[in-house]
Every structure is written in structure tokens, then in C-alpha cells.
């Protein structure tokens, strides 16, 4: 079942002589529960693509359908509601709210949606992330790996349609990076969570169902990985 369809996306920055085309006619689709990784050199448009898919940026032209909804046609408020319900975003630099503790950070998108706290789910996620003894700490009191776990917890708590991760291990040491990657894979495998992962780490990318190769804003390869590591 198709959860994401991208049609001929173009994204341009600047104008005149300084105009830069970050994405140049990118089209693809992703099935529900699929794990897709996006790789490519720096400046190839990976993060731009991810932000457009996450509804935090808009393409210059083209369409993005998530679960049948064209997110490019949504207004600011509807897009915000869409983001908190359908999208889970994990950033390289975690982007946690510094004044909220772990529990509060994880539950935030859910609360923003006007829903009551699901204490059981919160407990299970925190437990699963191995952060039980840090629940009453602020992000600044945590290590990078712990912060990224919280970031993943926040992205997963609302059971979004798609989990988008922008180089989630890029700022972590290898061991911690592996742990984070394992968490993401597990959410994909166990909870059938659709996962789109941007990474420079080829080893991690090859663990996906499919790998998209981006170069100069164009999708130059869309390969199914036959043998997972």
C-alpha cells in the first residue's frame, strides 16, 4: 500500500544568477512499512527533500502525497496539524525543547494535538529507549546519544504515518550511532513504521529496503537492497 508519492518535485533557492536548483524533478513512491534510505554527497538535496516530505518546507513545483493528502496544498495551520499527526522528524542535532524534561519532550506533539496523555505508551517508549532513570532531566543534562533517543521517542509517540530521520547518527560516536540505528530499524520492523532515513553512512543505508541516490538534486538511482546486512 502506497503511503508516500512524490511527483516531479523541483526546489529552487534564490533568483537570477544566484538561483540554485536544490531538487530537480524528483519523483518516487514509498510503500507503507517500507524502510528507505537516501544517500548522496553533500549539497545533493537530501535534507531539502526530507524537509519537503516533512512539511516544514514547500517545493517550488511538484506534489507530495502522504496517505493520499497533497501536503503542498495545505495552509500553515493545517500543515502544522498534519505534521504532528502524520510525521515524525528526527534531526541530526536532536532539536529538543530545552525547558522540557524527557517525558514532556516526548509527549509534546501528542499534547499539541489536544489529546490526553497516554501514560502507558509514554512509559513503554521511555523504557524501550532506556531512559527510565533520566525522565526528569532536561536535554542539556543528557549525552548526545540520549538526546537522540528522546528525539526518536518524540517522533514515534504519536504513531506517525512516516518517520523521517535526517542523519540521526551523524553527530554520534559509532557505538551510540549503532544503537540509534537499531532503534530506528526496530520501529520499522516491529511496529511496521515507514522510515525514510538520510545518511552518509553507507553501511547504515544498505540496511534499508530501498536506497535512493541523489546527485545534484536529481534522483539518479532507486535501488532495492536484496541482501540486508
Amino acid at each position: 500500500m502506497e503511503i508516500l508519492r512524490v511527483e516531479n518535485i523541483v526546489k529552487e533557492y534564490g533568483d537570477g544568477e544566484t538561483k540554485v536548483r536544490a531538487l530537480d524533478g524528483v519523483s518516487f513512491s514509498v510503500e507503507k512499512g517500507e524502510f528507505v534510505s537516501v544517500i548522496g554527497p553533500s549539497g545533493s538535496g537530501k535534507s531539502t527533500l526530507l524537509h519537503i516530505l516533512g512539511g516544514v518546507d514547500k517545493p517550488t513545483s511538484g506534489k507530495v502525497f502522504i496517505d493520499g493528502t497533497d501536503i503542498c496544498s495545505l495552509g500553515e495551520d493545517k500543515l502544522a496539524v498534519f505534521r504532528r499527526r502524520q510525521i515524525g522528524l528526527v534531526y541530526q542535532f536532536y532539536n529538543l525543547i530545552p525547558v522540557l524534561n524527557i517525558d514532556e519532550n516526548i509527549a509534546l506533539p501528542h499534547l499539541l494535538d489536544g489529546r490526553k496523555l497516554d501514560r502507558e505508551r509514554l512509559d513503554s517508549i521511555v523504557e524501550h529507549l532506556g531512559l527510565n532513570d533520566r525522565r526528569e532531566n532536561l536535554p542539556s543534562q543528557l549525552s548526545g546519544g540520549q538526546q537522540q533517543r528522546v528525539s526518536i521517542g518524540r517522533a514515534l509517540y504519536s504513531r506517525p504515518a512516516i518517520l523521517l530521520a535526517d542523519e540521526p547518527t551523524g553527530n554520534l560516536d559509532r557505538k551510540t550511532g549503532d544503537e540509534i540505528a537499531a532503534l530506528l530499524k526496530e520501529s520499522n520492523r516491529v511496529q511496521k513504521q515507514t522510515l525514510i532515513l538520510i545518511t552518509h553512512d553507507e553501511r547504515l543505508a544498505m540496511q534499508a529496503d530501498r536506497v535512493f541516490f541523489l546527485e545534484d538534486g536529481r534522483l539518479i538511482r532507486n535501488e532495492t537492497v536484496r541482501a540486508k546486512l
Binding site: 516544514v56 499539541l112 494535538d113 542539556s140
Partner: protein
């Protein structure tokens, strides 16, 4: 490049890199310099202006020394302290054949002035020119106004004479002329001044002329505005002629202005001068001009001026310290990063501190000229803005004079040094705490941006379960945002608190100063408040002829409403006055250094042993009942018109200005007494006729219907009582007059609504003018203009009021800038956090709600802190002011406080919305990508 230079070099680089932060700090420092300029140069400018205003009264001279020989005059002129010296000579009185009022003003009072004296006395010409020699003269335009035929080119000549009067009465006793300080023994002759009224011949005495033998012949070359020294009621018009060489035998007066920087105390200098030129020489000082040069003897105004200056300087420093400190504090994280880098390559704590001071002073140096120029601009603009009001006030003071007194900026070396000195001190204080904090942070913490203390690593932040479970994300974020991020919120709380405290303290100070000025400059008297009347007539009731005339006239059908209020005075037994009043009176007594306990006992025995003079306002029975009903009175007494009864007015303001109880006043003091009388409801007030001879002394008592005070009578009467007041009914007034003789001054207020063509009022005005000649004298005026008369102190008080409010506005502007800067700074530092919130699905509406809640919480904290600080500061100020000036009520303006709090809330909410909406407009991606350590 040495180590200090490299620190400064790097600091400079970072200042360039962080242009926004540098610009905000610069603006803050410019503001501080501007405000300091406003205080010091503004004060100097205003004082200079007020000196010019004060000079309208008598002139710009500082001192006049009388009766000098030409040689003594030359000695005085050669003194170092003397800046300008002008000579004048009182020539005397000559006949003025061209007078338009020969019966009452038949003479010219002629003085000779040197050119400098003309300048120093503000003589202004209506036409013609000033005299250039001793044969040219200018005449007061009051002569022209009275119908004189004199014109330019006319010649006036005559022999000078002095005046005296001889009594025709025989036996013991004397006739007293209290206004002229003349006591004429029966059958005797006394010399009278030029201002004495012209009573040439009547049944009691006759006027004589003693010819001096000196003659004068003058050509009229100009008509001047009536000079300040001219008495409207005197027998003379003023005339001034020029001055030629002096003969050695001449006695001259000398007008002087001093280089006041060379004189510490004008009175000590006056004594020196007296010693130098002979002990009997009298020197008169121009008090108001000297007061505004801060050299006067009026310690009340001097003290108030110094108090206002210190008060405003401290407030400016406080506002500036908060503003600059906030700017430094907000950029703390940013700053620690580069200082950490310096630290990692060996910079010491001292060097890091130096970098902060370097930044401050690197900004202060260019800010000084900018701020001073801006300050001068503000002073110029401010004075332009308030000048129409000032001119109006001066116009009230001196009708018909040229009121356009130019404002000239004054920025001397003293002011410049004060501005620079205070700015340097303020900057040092502002940067002190950030510099110390920064110098203590180690290199690793600085570079990592982790400047929190290590113990915070272990601190637990409990989940706000109620908010989490009830699903209130905006409240959750607001509560956590305001309690867990102290670094960012403190500056806002501080700004709110500083805003409230500074404005509140400024307003309290300004209102208190105004209240003190009102008391210091207030003139004893009463006013009937309701504006129901159009005109008033005032006359002495002891003149039966006038009373009959007034009563007849007011029977006219044109008069639709009238009310008579009478005023007199009586002496009451000192026992009727309260202990509180007597204590205050005693305190006044001991404000005179040479008074001792023995003197007090003697004073009590001699002056107060029997009675004390008080004021009496007599009203009609209806008015009396109304006052009694609002006060605390026995209505069965108050509503009985046949029973003489009295309402005692409890508020009295005693001051050293009114009670001269000795020679050497220590310093101004006023005391508000709220319970002046011991005689209370149902009691009796013991009154006597004040006779000094026991055989003529008459005692009687009046029933006390009750007590009233300023609040209970506020709708009907406003009283400035420097001696106690009572209200009496008609029966009581009758009783007083029967025993004391009728010395009542009646004021009749009336409307003439049926006087359609104004004929009645015209007839009344004509009667009023004629009344002077017929002996049935009364005055008439527009009721609305009854309080228009102001003395110079009141004009100056009014000017200071305007300036105090302007300053409050200026302080508010600085505080508003500070608040804006803090809120904007917090919003700027949270753009990434805002972007993250939006990226996880927070809508604009939710963001606005969160910010509003945060704003409310920070306002609450700021205002609570402000309330505590204000309470302390206001208490200190109250104690300081009442300790220095006297026990007066300086009430806390509660309504105003609520208004200030509401205004701060409104300002903060608007700024929060503006800063929030500009943060929302920026790109989420841009902010999320902005990586932090």
C-alpha cells in the same frame, strides 16, 4: 602585539561580528549619555531659564548695595567676584504736572541709572529709547494708562523734595499706617516714603514737603513698561534718567552680578562686603535669581532643587545600569564562547574582564558625543514643547511683559565633567557583574557553551503531571519556559520590575516634590469650589455704606443666584488647640537655632498664654448644615440657626515660612496637623476679642457643632490653612462681631442670567470703578478668574511640575526600550526553539497562547518584585523627604500604581506579540539548520 592588545583586538573582531548585539549595547549607552545630559545640561538650562523668569520680578542683579560713596563703589567694582556693576541713585520725588491722576498720583519718583543698571533691572521700552545722559528721562507707561498727556520730547523739570506728614490730633496715642510701617504720634511729624499715599490734607493730618534744593530738567526720551519696583497704590509714577559723573559727596546704590563660581555662600560674602565697606552698609540680595543659581538663602527651594537633581541622577543611573546590564547579560552565552577560546589559549580571568570593559569603553567613547548631542536635542525639543505652557505661566505672573524668554542651552565644563563622570561610573557598574561572571567561567565550559554550574547536572526537573495529563501544552511550555530558563527570563523580569519601580518611584518622587512645592508656595486662603457662579464682589462689612450699596444692587432682577461668604479672624483660647497642634508649633519654634526651652516657656506665657489667632469663615445656615452633615457633627446643633455654633476645621499646615519664631532658621520645615483642635463635637470654643488691656477683654464661648476636614469639605471649600480655620453660622458671626467689632471681609458670589444685554454687569463695573473715589470701595471680578493670580514661586513650582512629568515620560521611554530589548532578546534567542515547536506541529495560535501565558507569568513575577522594592524605596524616600522638609502627607498614588502596572502589562503584551509575530515570519528550515554546539 602584547597580550592586552590581542585581547582587545579579538574583542573588537567579535564586536564587528556581532553587529546586532554591539548596536544594542551602543544604543543603550547612547541612551544613558543622553539621559545624563538631560539631567545635568537640562538642569543647568532650566535653572538658567528659571533665573531669567525670576529676573522678571526684580531684575537679573544678584545684590544691591545701598548708600555707597563713589570711592566705596569703585572698591566694590574692583573685586574679583564682581562680574557686572551698575550704579543707581535715588534722586527723589518731583512734581509731575502732566499726570492724568493728579489727585492720587501727582508725583514722579526719579532714579538715575547707569547703562549697566538699565540692563540688570530688565527695563523694557514701549516706545523711544533709553536715557543716554542725566538730562534724559523715561516714564512708566502706567502714567500713560492713567491718562497722562506726556509724550516723547516733552520737558519735565522741578525741585526734588521729600515728604512728611504731621498729625493734627492732640493728646497721647498715635495713628498707625501698618502697610507703610509708619506710626504717627498725635501732634508729631514723621517722614514718609515715596510710596506713601497722597493724603494732602484731612481732619487728622497734613502732608508736608521738604525741598532738597536739588533741581532737575529732563527731556522725555522713552516710555517704559511699569518697572517691578513701582507700587500701584503709591503717590508716584516711576521715572528713570541717565547718570553722569558722580560728585564725591553723592551716595549711590550699586547693582551687582557676581561670578557665582567664585562665591560659596552669598551671605558670607555679603558680610565680607559689609566689613570691607563699613558695617552700616545694607546689601539686598535678589533671592529668586540667586536661588536658581543655587546660591540663595531660601533653603527650602535650594534643598528641593538638590533633592530633585540627586533623585533624578540616581534614577537615570539605575535605569541605565539595568538597560546596559541586561544587554550584556543577554549576550552572555554568545560572549562566553569567544572568551572561552581566548581562555583556552591562555587568557586569564583579568584579561577576560578587561575585554568586557574594553567593549564598554570602546562603545562609550563614540556614544559620548552622540548621546550628548542627542541629549541637547531632547532638551531643545522638550523645552520647545513645554515653552508655550511656560510662557503662559509667565504671562500670568507678569501681565503685559514680553513673555518670550528665549531658552539657551547651557553645557559648561562642570556639566560636561559631570556627564562624563557619571557615565563612566554607570558603565563600570553595569559591566561589573557580567565581567566577574565571565572571568570565572573556564575554557571548556565556555567553548561548549555549558556555563551552568556542575551541580545543575544532577538536578531533577519533575514532570508537570497535571498539565501533561490534562493536555495543556501551551501552559506546560509557558510554565517550564519561565521557570527553567532563568538566564532568558531574568532579564524580562528585571526589566518589568525596573520599569515599574523606576516609573513608580519617579512618579512618587515627582508627586511628592509637587506636593511639597504646593505647600511651600501655597498662600494662605480659602476658595469656594462649586463653579455655579459668574462673578464675585468683595468688600469690608464694617463699611455700612458699601454694604447697603451692594445689597441694593444685588436685589436687581438680573441677579438669579447669589451666595455670601464672610471671612474674619478671632483669637481663641490656646486650650482649644490640640496637643498635636501645639507639638507642631513647638517644633516650628525650635527650628530657630537661637531658641531655647526658656524662650519657649516665655513665648508660651507671653504670646500664647491667653489666646491664639485663627481664621473664621462664616457661611449661610444651609451651607453650614451641609458641611456639618458631611463632617462629624451634632446635627441638632448645626441645624439650629438661632444657636451660635462652629465647625472646627482639623487640617492645618504649619511652616517656617509662615511662623517666623526666631532669627536664625536652621532649615525649612512644614508640618501637617490633622487634628488641630481639642474642642470637639458638643464642646465649646473659648473666644475673646483679643484686647491686650484686661479691662477691655471680653470672653465668650461658641458651641462646637462638630469637626470637618479637607476631605469632608472638598466639594465646597478648598483651604490652605497655615493657621487654624473654623466655619461659623450666621448667629456665631453676629456674636463675634458684637464682641469684637465688625472686621468682616464679605465675598458675594452671584450669577446674572437675566442680564441679557450685559447692562447690569456694566453698571456694576462702573460702580466698582467709582467706588474707589466715593469711599464705598469694593472689588468685582469674574468668578472663573478668581484664582488666576500667581506669585513667582507658584509659577516656578508649576514649571517644575511640568519638568517632573516630562522626566517621568523620559524614564518611561528608557524602561520601555529596556523591556522591548529584553523581550526581543529572548525571542531572538528562542527562534530555533520556536522553529522546532512549529516543526512538531504547534500552530501559530498555540504559539501565541504560549507566549501570552509566559508574558503573564513574567509580568506577575516582575510586578511582585517591583511591589516589594517600591515599598522599600518609597518608605526610604518618604522618611528622607519628611525628615528634611517636614511632616507632610505624601500619599502613595495607589490608583496611579495600578495604572502603571496596567500600562506595563499592555506594553509587554504588545511587544511580546510584535516580537513573536516577527519570529514566526522567519523560515523554519533556516532556524532548524542553525546549528548550535
Amino acid at each position: 602585539m602584547n597580550s592586552k592588545n590581542i585581547i582587545f583586538h579579538v574583542t573588537k573582531k567579535y564586536m564587528k561580528l556581532n553587529r546586532r548585539r554591539t548596536a544594542i549595547t551602543f544604543i543603550g549607552i547612547v541612551f544613558m549619555v543622553m539621559l545624563m545630559t538631560c539631567v545635568f545640561a537640562g538642569k543647568a538650562t532650566v535653572m538658567k531659564y528659571l533665573q531669567k523668569v525670576a529676573a522678571l520680578d526684580k531684575g537679573s542683579w544678584h545684590m544691591i548695595v545701598y548708600d555707597l560713596t563713589p570711592e566705596q563703589a569703585e572698591n566694590v567694582r574692583s573685586l574679583d567676584e564682581v562680574e557686572t556693576a551698575g550704579l543707581s541713585e535715588q534722586l527723589g520725588v518731583i512734581e509731575f504736572p502732566q499726570s492724568g491722576d493728579k489727585e492720587y498720583k501727582p508725583f514722579l519718583n526719579v532714579k538715575a541709572y547707569s547703562p549697566e543698571s538699565f540692563q540688570m533691572t530688565n527695563i523694557t521700552l514701549k516706545e523711544g529709547r533709553l536715557p543716554e545722559n542725566a538730562n534724559e528721562i523715561i516714564i512708566s507707561d502706567s502714567a500713560i494708562a492713567d491718562g497722562s498727556s506726556v509724550k516723547l520730547g516733552d520737558t519735565i523739570s522741578g525741585e526734588y523734595f521729600t515728604r512728611s506728614i504731621t498729625s493734627k490730633k492732640s493728646g497721647d496715642g498715635f495713628t498707625s499706617f501698618p502697610f507703610f510701617n509708619v506710626e504717627l504720634p498725635y501732634g508729631g511729624t514723621v517722614e514718609v516714603s515715596n510710596d506713601f499715599l497722597p493724603y494732602f490734607e484731612n481732619e487728622d493730618y497734613t502732608e508736608n514737603r521738604i525741598m532738597s534744593g536739588r533741581t532737575g530738567e529732563y527731556t522725555v526720551v522713552g516710555i517704559m513698561n511699569a518697572p517691578g519696583f513701582e507700587k500701584t497704590s503709591g503717590a508716584c509714577y516711576s521715572a528713570l534718567c541717565g547718570m553722569d559723573e558722580l560728585a564725591a559727596s553723592d551716595k549711590v546704590n550699586m547693582m551687582l552680578t557676581f561670578d557665582l563660581d567664585k562665591i560659596d555662600f552669598i551671605y558670607e560674602f555679603r558680610e565680607d562686603l559689609k566689613r570691607m565697606i563699613g558695617g552700616d552698609v545694607i546689601g539686598e540680595t535678589n533671592e529668586l535669581v540667586l536661588t536658581f543659581a543655587e546660591k540663595g538663602s531660601d533653603s527650602s527651594i535650594n534643598g528641593l532643587t538638590i533633592f530633585v537633581e540627586i533623585f533624578f541622577t540616581v534614577l537615570i543611573m539605575a535605569a541605565s545600569v539595568v538597560l546596559i546590564y541586561n544587554v550584556f547579560n543577554m549576550s552572555f552565552a554568545e560572549r562566553t564562547k569567544y572568551l572561552g577560546m581566548l581562555s583556552s589559549v591562555g587568557a586569564t580571568g583579568r584579561q577576560k574582564r578587561q575585554s568586557i570593559y574594553y567593549e564598554c569603553f570602546a562603545l562609550l567613547i563614540p556614544a559620548l558625543p552622540v548621546g550628548i548631542l542627542a541629549g541637547l536635542g531632547v532638551i531643545t525639543g522638550g523645552m520647545k514643547l513645554i515653552k508655550p505652557n511656560l510662557d503662559k505661566l509667565i504671562g500670568v505672573l507678569k501681565y503685559g511683559v514680553k513673555t518670550d524668554i528665549p531658552v539657551s542651552l547651557k553645557l559648561g565644563l562642570t556639566e560636561l565633567c559631570l556627564i562624563i563622570g557619571m557615565c563612566v561610573v554607570t558603565v563600570m557598574i553595569s559591566a561589573l557583574i557580567p565581567a566577574i561572571k565571565i572571568s570565572k567561567i573556564g575554557p571548556v565550559e565556555s567553548i561548549r557553551g555549558n556555563t551552568e554550574k556542575s551541580k545543575k547536572k544532577k538536578k531533577r526537573y519533575a514532570t508537570r503531571k497535571s498539565l501533561l495529563e490534562k493536555g495543556k501544552p501551551e501552559m506546560l511550555l509557558a510554565v517550564n519556559g519561565t521557570t527553567r530558563s532563568k538566564h532568558l527570563t531574568r532579564s524580562i523580569v528585571r526589566s518589568v520590575a525596573a520599569f515599574a519601580v523606576l516609573v513608580m518611584v519617579t512618579l512618587y518622587g515627582a508627586k511628592s516634590v509637587i506636593a511639597l512645592l504646593d505647600i511651600m508656595t501655597g498662600e494662605s486662603g480659602w476658595d469656594y469650589v462649586p463653579e455655579d457662579y459668574s462673578y464675585y464682589l468683595a468688600y469690608n462689612k464694617d463699611d455700612e455704606q458699601t454694604e447697603k450699596l451692594i445689597n441694593d444692587v444685588l436685589e436687581n432682577s438680573a441677579v438669579t443666584k447669589k451666595k455670601e461668604i464672610d471671612y474674619t479672624s478671632v483669637r481663641i483660647s490656646a486650650d482649644s488647640l490640640s496637643g498635636e497642634f501645639m507639638d507642631a508649633y513647638k517644633e516650628m519654634f525650635f527650628r530657630y537655632a537661637d531658641n531655647t526651652e526658656a524662650d519657649w516657656e516665655e513665648h508660651i506665657e507671653r504670646e500664647l498664654g491667653r489666646t491664639f489667632g485663627i481664621n473664621v469663615i462664616a457661611v449661610d445656615d444651609e451651607e453650614f448644615a451641609y458641611l456639618a452633615k458631611n463632617g462629624d457633627a451634632d446635627m441638632s446643633i448645626a441645624e439650629n440657626p438661632d444657636e451660635p455654633s462652629v465647625l472646627v476645621y482639623e487640617n492645618t499646615t504649619l511652616s517656617t515660612d509662615y511662623y517666623g519664631l526666631g532669627n536664625d532658621l536652621i532649615g525649612y520645615r512644614c508640618i501637617e496637623v490633622n487634628n488641630s483642635f481639642s474642642s470637639q463635637k458638643g464642646g465649646e470654643l473659648l473666644v475673646d476679642n483679643g484686647s491686650l488691656k484686661p479691662e477691655y477683654l471680653v470672653n465668650f464661648s461658641i458651641k462646637v457643632a462638630g469637626t470637618v476636614n479637607k476631605d469632608t469639605i472638598a466639594e465646597r471649600f478648598k483651604i490652605f490653612a497655615d493657621t487654624p480655620y473654623i466655619f461659623v453660622n450666621r448667629s456665631a458671626l453676629k456674636l463675634i462681631n458684637e464682641n469684637n467689632g465688625d472686621h468682616t471681609l464679605a465675598t458675594v458670589l452671584f450669577r446674572a442670567d437675566n442680564d441679557a444685554n450685559g447692562a447690569f454687569i456694566k453698571q456694576l463695573s462702573d460702580l466698582c470703578e467709582q467706588s474707589v473715589n466715593t469711599g464705598s470701595e469694593f472689588v468685582m471680578g469674574d468668578y472663573a478668574d478668581r484664582n488666576q493670580g500667581m506669585n513667582i514661586k507658584q509659577v516656578i513650582a508649576a514649571i517644575i511640575k511640568i519638568l517632573a512629568y516630562c522626566f517621568t515620560a523620559l524614564i518611561s521611554a528608557v524602561c520601555l526600550l529596556n523591556l522591548y530589548n529584553s523581550i526581543r532578546g529572548r525571542a531572538a534567542e528562542r527562534t530555533r526553539e520556536t522553529a522546532v515547536l512549529r516543526s512538531v506541529g504547534m500552530t501559530d495560535k498555540q504559539l501565541t497562547k504560549m507566549r501570552d501565558l509566559e508574558n503573564l507569568m513574567l509580568l506577575g513575577r516582575g510586578l511582585c518584585a517591583a511591589a516589594v522594592i517600591c515599598a522599600g524605596l518609597i518608605f526610604v524616600m518618604y522618611r528622607a523627604m519628611t525628615g528634611y522638609f517636614g511632616r507632610v502627607e505624601l500619599p502613595v498614588p495607589w490608583v496611579l500604581s495600578i495604572g502603571i502596572a496596567a500600562a506595563i502589562c499592555a506594553a509587554s503584551s504588545i511587544i511580546t506579540r510584535i516580537c513573536g509575530s516577527s519570529a514566526d515570519k522567519s523560515d523554519i528550515i533556516e532556524k532548524i539548520r542553525r546549528e548550535t554546539v
